[in-house]
Symmetry: C2
Subunit: 236 residues, 2 copies
Amino acid sequence: MTGSEPAAAPAPLPAAPGPRRRHPEDTKERLLDAAERLFAERGFEGASLRAVTHAAGTSVSAAHYHFGSKEALLVATIRRRAEPVVRARAARLDEIERRAGAGPLPLEEVLDAFLRPIFEERARPERSDDFRRIAARLFSDPPRVVASLKREVFGSTAERFLDALARALPEKPRMLIALDLQFLVGVMVHVTSGHLRDVPAPRGWPRLEGLSDDAVLGRMIEFVAAGLRAPRRSLR
Amino acid sequence: MTGSEPAAAPAPLPAAPGPRRRHPEDTKERLLDAAERLFAERGFEGASLRAVTHAAGTSVSAAHYHFGSKEALLVATIRRRAEPVVRARAARLDEIERRAGAGPLPLEEVLDAFLRPIFEERARPERSDDFRRIAARLFSDPPRVVASLKREVFGSTAERFLDALARALPEKPRMLIALDLQFLVGVMVHVTSGHLRDVPAPRGWPRLEGLSDDAVLGRMIEFVAAGLRAPRRSLR
DNA sequence: GTCTATAGTTGGATAGAC
DNA sequence: GTCTATCCAACTATAGAC
């Protein structure tokens, strides 16, 4: 679908500035937008640099000029989205810890601080579908770069939230918190990667697409909070 | 790297049967094994057919002879693992429904029927690492084939478990069950895809690799059962 | 900064010998 | 059924004009 009309006639517009060729300085941004969309849809290896640059209305060499390599373009794409999320999470957690003083942290608020920034990043009008699977691929894509990038970008966040959860659930063994946090991450990745939108939806069952982000986020927090509070009977 | 040593001298072994060239009829199996491992490690587009056939000790043309295309090889790879899981889930659910008669279904048993078969398939000695991400990629890989295959293979399972969960939680609105089931799927995918093994593990925190499958499965059931039972305050 | 042109690899798929 | 040899398309990356 994308990338049809290979050698289309010049647009019927009077001058040269067709649909492409806007301000020259935002070529970098357009490349990042196109890369985000195509890497998310087809995977890193599945989306060729040519397809990305064509979707961005520019050329392969422009991409190499701005980023140096296809891999570096992927890193820049992920970093652009991940960093605001990391900052927003940290800011929310700062505020929660400030209000709590030396006392225990309220669990639901900690979870909200962890989950809401992803929804808000995803919810930007132009980006809702672009952002869809990019986070999920962070967790299932093989490229070596992505593994180290994941650590670099999310490492400190994971540490802070482990400690925050330990403060929210003081009685709970750390091993159990660490394990449950992985369950929480699984829920987050699955939901934010957009799978709610292509669920088979059996006959007679309600469809989930209509749910607002707020409704999903709210229920997600209820769900994982209950899971985190569930007493353990197994696990040693 | 692949396909080096173009005209290597014959192996110093006495006869012909080197490390490759075993029983000719299990070439198909060896191809499936290699494809499973490499598709899981590098993704479908990231693993070349040449790399797969080389790992299987055979040739590209053998793969085309047996499967017809790279895409068909992927489908066969997934199908080989998915079908036993689907059958085992159905069998366990049959048994639960038989024992329950007309009464409500016990939630933890339904969850066990859903989750345990995946662990057992993954736990086969030779397959534990091969199977790792293959299920997860079902949910994040872009190829069109995979989407339709997912429906074909797991569609009926999803329907049956939705109904089973409705029978286990009779008071619960269906919309909420459908949403919570997606959370459950997220947990399942994340855990079975092996991410527990490459968690950063912050300083002072216990590592999760040592946990047995039984311990993880047991806690997972506790976690999602509590989530499923959590009353809703949000969601309309 | 952005383009055209091209280098140099590697990809999936096939033909035909055995 | 499995191999070798080959086709051709697509890929990343670079060089050099403008």
